[in-house]
């Protein structure tokens, strides 16, 4: 099973992740990601990895749990 995690010290609120994975990521009023609770469905893991790779601050990652 996989989980999305944010390194908050790195995140600059670019917001790309919410565009690439709207199923799981919304943005708060300051532009920082709000990750839906719980583990990723298998069908979303690839898209989640793509979102993590696209993060300009390398703040998003997909952890195997």
């Amino acid at each position: 099973m996989s989980t999305l995690r944010v390194d908050w010290t790195r995140c600059d609120g670019h917001g790309l992740c919410a565009r690439l994975l709207p199923e799981r990521i919304a943005l708060d009023e300051w532009g920082f990601p709000i990750i839906a609770a719980g583990e990723l469905d298998d069908g979303l893991v690839r898209a989640a990895r793509r979102a993590a790779q696209a993060c300009p601050a390398l703040a998003l990652r997909v952890d195997k749990s």
Binding site: W8, T9, R10, C11, D28, W30, G31, F32, I34
Partner: protein
């Protein structure tokens, strides 16, 4: 998030508060507001320090169920068991007491430094290392510890390190990052010091009071140590009592003592009490609460670093909450967006509650509390949210008065200390 500078609290106001004990003092034996226990007095009170093996220490810590005194209340025996036996390992005493209302660690460092050294040396010997670092951010505590190291012959390998004093800078991972030459801020990944500590080697890190308690355990043995306190958590602990309390100051209490007896509260007393300091919890029924870490955590009001405060019925509590929330907002290290933007928004929300803003700003603030919760690298945002959220629930009657009249009619007593950012 990348930010430039870290706000600092000026904490070197050098007057210690009164120092007291409920029952016989142990940690604070021989100490008073103006009396430091030097090595001769320390040995007269506690006897000689005998070396304790790692096995003895581990089983004794487990037997007395000792919990860390910095706030997280982690079982000390488990922390010890996680350490390798290695000369490269370090022992780190965290004396960077960074919460403005708390004084207990500085009281121990300034008045009873030898118990801390006894505890640190006991752990170091058990781990077969000589590397001991004490991180302090106030000059008076550093002087006392340096003097204590000079007074004895077994402390030549102890390093005393002056660290930054921002609120989150006292967090153990922030202290370690600072000692390793980085910025004194918590890291983004939660890595335990027992894995990656000083010089990126395994480090047994704990709070000043924890080391004093370990020293006491080594001196007394587990049976004698456990003669006071509760079954679930033997021993004593130090609390800092603030505001409208019978004994303001740093008090050593037997664990298990009812909070109502510390506060001399009659049964059914509904005055609001803050338990656990500025990352703590406001409660208005304390009859069932005792000073015991597990019990308070289960009751939803963890003891954290031991600050207990009460605002007098003549004073406005909401304005105190607003001022402390502003401090918490200004003490965001600025690393994590939700904390950096969210806490100031929450602080503005609390201030508008004081001014009687009504339901719309209230619901916005509740939304901000939800937004910030659980989204940061350290405990600062969650602790701050707990402080504000519990205040809004507990002070609801006063909140209504402010909403209806723009004031509760009580004066601002400036009870909870907030040292201005330097």
């Amino acid at each position: 998030m990348t930010m430039t500078d870290v706000p600092r609290i000026a904490t070197d106001h050098d007057r210690l508060p009164p120092v007291l004990a409920f029952g016989a003092p142990r940690i604070l034996a021989g100490a008073a507001q103006d009396r430091r226990v030097d090595l001769a007095a320390h040995r007269t009170l506690h006897g000689a320090l005998v070396p304790r093996s790692r096995g003895w220490l581990s089983s004794s810590l487990a037997q007395v169920r000792m919990k860390g005194r910095g706030g997280a209340a982690f079982p000390v025996s488990i922390k010890l068991d996680a350490m390798p036996n290695a000369r490269s390992a370090s022992v780190l005493v965290n004396g960077s007491e960074s919460e403005p209302a708390s004084w207990k660690d500085r009281v121990i460092m300034r008045q009873c430094p030898h118990l801390i050294l006894d505890g640190a040396l006991t752990i170091a010997q058990a781990l077969r290392t000589k590397r001991i670092t004490i991180a302090v951010h106030d000059a008076a505590s550093a002087r006392s510890l340096e003097q204590a190291c000079r007074e004895r012959s077994d402390a030549s390998s102890v390093t005393i390190s002056i660290t930054g004093n921002a609120f989150v800078g006292g967090e153990i991972r922030a202290v370690i990052n600072g000692l390793n030459g980085g910025r004194a801020l918590p890291g983004g990944r939660r890595v335990l010091p027992t894995v990656d500590g000083i010089d990126h080697k395994a480090t047994f890190a704990s709070n000043v009071e924890t080391f004093a308690q370990i020293g006491l355990l080594a001196l007394l043995g587990a049976t004698e140590y456990a003669r006071v306190g509760s079954t679930n958590e033997p021993g004593t602990t130090l609390v800092t009592m603030v505001g409208d309390v019978p004994f303001p100051g740093v008090i050593e209490v037997p664990i298990g003592i009812p909070i109502a007896s510390l506060l001399q509260s009659p049964p059914g007393d509904r005055r609001a009490v803050l338990i656990g300091g500025y990352h703590g919890t406001w409660v208005d029924h304390i009859d069932h609460l005792v000073v015991e870490r597990d019990a308070l955590r289960i009751a939803g009001a963890p003891l954290n670093a031991g600050v207990i405060a009460r605002i007098s019925a003549d004073h406005c509590a909401l304005v105190e909450v607003a001022r402390v929330t502003s401090l918490l907002a200004s003490e965001s290290a600025g690393q994590c967006g939700p904390c950096f933007f969210g806490l100031p928004a929450i602080a503005r929300g609390v201030q508008s509650m004081v001014e009687g803003a009504g339901s719309e700003p209230m619901s916005r603030m509740v939304r901000h509390l939800d937004t910030v919760s659980g989204r940061g690298a350290c405990a600062h945002p969650d602790g701050s949210v707990q402080f504000v959220r519990s205040a809004m629930l507990t002070l609801d009657a006063e909140l209504r008065q402010h909403t209806e009249h723009g004031t509760c009619g009580r004066i601002d007593g400036h009870v909870l200390p907030v040292v201005a950012a330097a």
